[in-house]
Subunit: 260 residues, 2 copies
């Protein structure tokens, strides 16, 4: 039992009007505050695991961090509920402040925050995936989602090559899973340009933009995309797949990266 | 077809390695920016419907608005992508700025933002629900979720009495559905103290706190809660139910409001 990730509670289970009391595992949620160069940037609600990965991935997604060498120091304080990051460059805090709760950019299909979203299209590359692998990889990711199995309370994301999962992340938030995937790739110096990301969660513009920023060519979801996500994927040449369930999936943008 | 809520796309559907092209309905997501007294407060990504409800519910959830009379003016600009709200009191913008992406409060089980979360416990009242009604109301809510049926891309929430749904809201975000439910109750002067809220979404501390602030005594989810949500519910005497599926559900905090 992973006690950093779940808490045990006595609960009542009701079925057909009969009730029994039992002990249940419930996923943990904690606030985690990121300071950068002494400035309190953000508090994220997260599963208290992979917090270094979350920090790096979040900073990369927000356009604050471009590579790991920019970090001169990182230290956890207050029982890992706070991280103090020192970065070797100035941060324009005012730009960040404006972005409370927003998608960052992806405003419809027009990017308004050019600093973040001026990233060019994803270039053609050698990553192609076989149709049958898409189905297989999603099944494998879900089999690896042990916290979901115990609690039903997590989203899952995975980094994969064309035919093998590199690693799997679970978190209470779909955004956090993607940030942790990205942060882990920074820490482990894993190239993202020839990988795909799998996610259990819905694909809104925020998710698309996180993936686009790292030039990941293929995003595969178990769930639905929004219209903005589809429009941005088409504009930027990201291959986007949704509703990957059983032996089916939908392709919202292809670009010949998927082989039948 | 509700063209304010869905966009049509030509997509490819793959099943067992065979592919067909067809037209699909995809849920709309748009940025929506709330200005209060001339200050740009927040941009939310939302389904572009019930935006007045979203605004009022969000301001209420954030502790900015206590009753509708405080609003002296509300007007939409820029094709309804911006709302300008005038409120008849001073807002402490600095407090709000600190709360980017956070839960507001609910930091673990200790509320740190007393201004928002000092609300006492939910008092005993006359709202009790029969076990069979919980199951029935969840089924009825899901039958009403027409955009989910079309797109698979929405969360749903509903306001209910002990045995009847008052209204149902769909949105791309689970937080937005709760805010729209609350905003609609403000606009229609519906008392929330003797109602329950149903949600399709997971119950994290943010969701619990929105519901607590309005003194709604019962929250019923189709999905999992987090440990923080359970702890806050127990501390504040909110009846919390999760995993309401088929003829089953789990009771995380009861308080004799549920009758078998």
């Amino acid at each position: 039992m992973d006690l950093t990730s779940v808490e045990k509670f006595k609960i009542k289970k009701v079925k057909n009007n009969s009730m029994e009391e039992l002990e249940d595992s419930i996923i943990k949620e904690q606030p985690f505050t990121i300071f950068v160069n002494g400035y309190e940037l953000v508090t994220l609600m997260t599963l208290p695991k992979d917090l270094k990965e979350l920090t790096i991935g979040f900073l990369a997604s927000e356009g604050i961090l471009e590579n790991l060498n920019e970090i001169t120091d990182m230290k956890f304080t207050h029982q890992n509920s706070i991280i103090q990051v020192e970065i070797d460059k100035d941060i324009d805090i005012n730009i960040f402040k404006k972005r409370t709760l927003t998608s960052g950019c992806g405003k419809g299909i027009t990017f308004t925050n050019l600093k973040d979203c001026s990233a060019g299209k994803i270039s053609e590359n050698d990553l192609t995936m076989k149709s049958k692998n898409i189905v297989k990889l999603m099944v494998n990711m879900q089999k690896s989602a042990k916290l979901f199995e115990q609690t039903g309370g997590t989203h899952t994301a995975a980094l994969t090559s064309s035919d093998n999962i590199v690693y799997v992340i679970e978190d209470i938030g779909r955004h956090n899973t993607i940030d942790k995937i990205i942060g882990k790739s920074f820490l482990n110096k894993i190239n993202l340009n020839d990988k795909a990301i799998l996610t259990s969660g819905r694909v809104s513009s925020e998710i698309i933009i996180k993936v686009l920023k790292q030039k990941v060519p293929i995003l595969i979801s178990r769930s639905a995309p929004t219209n903005s996500a589809v429009n941005i994927a088409r504009e930027k040449d990201l291959t986007l797949i949704g509703f990957t369930r059983g032996n089916r999936f939908n392709i919202y943008n292809d670009l010949n990266r998927i082989k039948y």
